[in-house]
Point group: C2
């Protein structure tokens, strides 16, 4: 079994051959911190958290770099207009770095709730100003950029003469030229395809640094070329990000790296697909941009209820990272039930009486799981094998299959490794181990109430209901028995 | 009532007069991130968290900057030897920024557990290289520094001719000169008092940046002058830190700021006192450097048990920040009981039957609390007033005092504001709101068991006990009734 990774560059699955095993270098594009983290942040974070965890499981020592973009990312990903962070700062009457701090804190908190491991290094664009200026200077020296009115632009057509601009995204430069409208504000550029690697700061621009080209700030794409080279070297194993970053961001990154450092850096380019909501693209203007906080609290008109971070995580892992993924209440509730079945099955292991012989083929189960993971991190297939195993476990608990003491222990260990360590799923409420106890205590009280009613002890039954109501546990009688809901 | 702050600069309490009300600028020295956060990190963080919360309570809008030192802090706070972070990186075989990330994450997590609010901006020294080089250049231009072999040193004696080096720490330059041994490695300096503001990097030094003086890194003191000026302006309200930073760190900061920007920046210098453990200075070599994680888990030979983060916080607040504070098991357990009494008293408010008249003087209680806080944030006195109030509350519950409905509500609001918002103390386990519910559900079940026994329904009583035991709740009969314990 060998790990295969779909390489966006070659458009096929390739056997993963690290440059310097057991060390692995992985760079993933992190958030631009100017707003509340939403689903579009959760998917790449969870996708590459899975990659990070699985590579570590395989015995590699991974240096995982995920950046924070805190300057230079202009509105609509263009080379003109306002800086996204400065704009928020202006609207919220804050210093730009206060905006950065607030949303970086919020991002880290949400990632923690999703059980996403922190990367080894989380470098910020503002933290690498000298390094970025040095790359811009190198690109200028090498003749692949030109200065105009205090800004420096990358000369795409010149670069393309001996290199292939578009190789990652599969675009052709002729088509790009044909489809690009000449915009007035871009008159400084020789060609509309060119992109800024250093931007002159307008007088009202808040975030600015001195440079030999005057006061300004780096172009958005520069930080990733620079910070990956600084922490992972000029050649490294994996570069990841969302598919929306493929063009122009990653295409420009390759061009800058080749123009500045003389060669391509990345061996395997990985891109996760996008998320939609009820079949629609998400966007603030469409009114369906739901933040992770809103998912966790249920406080959004499109949500029927709150969803635990582990439900969101499981739902994302139930699709392959290269497929699109549509969020809906129905699909999330199905994921919620699925996750519960998975953990219930794992708990069932403790209730099985060991037999002399096993009818369960544990070895095959493990093999299938790891084969799926080795096949470009195919988590949905891997999870389906786990569910197959759960069926056998439930059958064993019902006496229809059997497991030896040794197999039971091995099975427990395998599920722990697969579910908690590799998939990073925690039993709901593990963070507060009390949730489970609370549920059990409530069910014990309700059982006593049912018994009291059977014994015609209605005083007792009512008393239990009233006392529970006082504690915020509402009991609703239904035709099948009852349901309860927590109001606290 | 006016807020008074003890100003280290004047050695007396002064009425606090902000420069630009309602805006306040506050800068506090944060950690050098090369090891696990310990008590020495908790005290300044909690001290200035109290200041931050109280200033906000007074209606100010506070921009609170607390830095992360991730480069330039050399062993033994000297101008030679290894960088603390690089050394850890070498020993742990990591890239320096991996060390920075790891311990910064750990610091943030521990601060969150201590309910320390995140600062408005958390800038890192490596993130301000251009700005630091610009200050070094300005100091050189102004004639208060000299270059030697790729390093730049601050000329203390020259600065002292027209300024007072030592004004903050109360040291005299003649005494300093007399007491400084000339060290061989400092031969580059004109005087042993001089300090590096830019250091030439030895070939083996990992963290290095290009500069007009060659590759190197900033001196430790420079970052604070630079980052406070960048985010708070060249004159701002409050600068805080531990007393161990008074000299040389803050003394040098003042000198740099005056030499570079032409005037002093800080209006009020505040310093928290040190912590000791069982009367001894803490230190790795003394074997008594206990990390916050070890306090929280109890896993250290000097600890009798684990201590909840809120116990640590309360214990720190029970001393005035300018007093030394000695940690011992006995003192922490007393704080634990005190905190429980405080929260129990607050809960008692819900059990008091309102009367027509109040015997409690709530107005006086509030006044005393805020007077103590206004008197240089005297939290121990403020807390003692809260305990006085708790006595009255307990008496009211016992029918020995009385409170009106209106006073009960005002009292609840006051305690919430004082305890949770200003002192930042949370009921233990509030983070998981379920703990409280769990306790209440258990008590409801135990009440039902008591009732069943009274009614001679021993089957029911035993069943409740057995079911609870199955859930891990052990019920122990005592001569006064029963106790219960959770085994999970």
């Amino acid at each position: 079994m060998k790990l295969c990774i779909y390489n966006t560059l070659s458009r096929k699955k390739e056997i993963f051959e690290p440059l310097h095993p057991p060390l692995i270098g992985m760079y993933v594009c992190g958030p631009t911190v100017y707003g509340d983290p939403h689903l579009g942040h959760a998917r790449p974070a969870i996708t590459f958290d899975l990659v990070f965890r699985y590579l570590k499981h395989l015995g590699y020592r991974v240096r995982y770099v995920r950046n924070i973009t805190d300057v230079g990312h202009l509105e609509a990903d263009q080379d003109f207009g306002e800086d996204k962070i400065s704009k928020t700062a202006r609207l919220e009457q804050l210093e730009p770095m206060e905006v950065v701090q607030m949303y970086t804190n919020e991002y880290r908190l949400k990632m923690m709730q999703l059980n996403v491991l922190p990367p080894s290094i989380e470098p910020a664009a503002t933290g690498h100003m000298i390094e970025q200026q040095a790359l811009v200077e190198k690109i200028l020296e090498n003749g692949f950029a030109y200065e105009k009115a205090g800004s420096v632009y990358f000369d795409v057509e010149k670069y393309n003469r001996n290199n292939n601009y578009g190789k990652l995204s599969g675009r052709k430069i002729e088509d790009l030229i044909a489809s690009t409208r000449e915009l007035e504000k871009q008159q400084e550029k020789k060609s509309p395809l060119d992109f800024a690697i250093w931007k002159n700061a307008d007088p009202e621009h808040l975030m600015r640094w001195p440079s030999r080209w005057g006061e300004g700030f780096p172009g958005w794409h520069v930080e990733c070329s620079v910070m990956s080279a600084k922490y992972l070297g000029t050649e490294f194993d994996i570069h990841g990000g969302g598919m929306d970053l493929l063009f122009p961001h990653h295409e420009c990154e390759i061009a800058q790296t080749v123009a500045g450092y003389g060669k391509e850096a990345v061996r395997y380019w990985m891109h996760n697909n996008m998320v939609t909501l009820n079949g629609q693209k998400m966007g603030k203007s469409l009114g369906n941009a739901i933040s992770l906080e809103q998912f966790f609290s249920g406080e959004h008109s499109l949500l029927e209820k709150e969803y635990h971070p582990m439900t969101i995580r499981f739902f994302i892992l139930q699709a392959h990272y290269r497929s699109t993924l549509d969020f809906s209440n129905e699909a999330l509730q199905a994921a919620e039930r699925g996750l519960e079945r998975l953990f219930d099955g794992m708990k069932t292991l403790d209730r099985i009486t060991p037999s002399e012989k096993s009818t369960m083929d544990l070895e095959q189960l493990e093999k299938s799981f790891f084969e799926a993971m080795d096949d470009d991190f195919n988590s949905p297939i891997a999870i389906s094998h786990l569910f197959e195993g759960i069926k056998t476990i439930n059958n064993a608990a019902a006496g229809k299959e059997s497991m030896t003491e040794n197999d039971l222990e091995k099975c427990r260990q395998f599920y722990h490794k697969a579910v908690q360590e590799i998939l990073g799923l925690l039993p709901e409420g593990k963070a507060s181990g009390d949730q489970e106890l609370t549920r059990e205590l409530i069910e014990l009280l309700l059982q006593m109430r049912t018994d009291a009613r059977k014994n015609k002890d209605f005083d007792m039954a009512d008393r239990i209901r009233d006392e529970m109501a006082r504690l915020g546990v509402e009991v609703m009688d239904t035709k099948d028995g009852f349901e309860w809901k927590l109001h606290r």
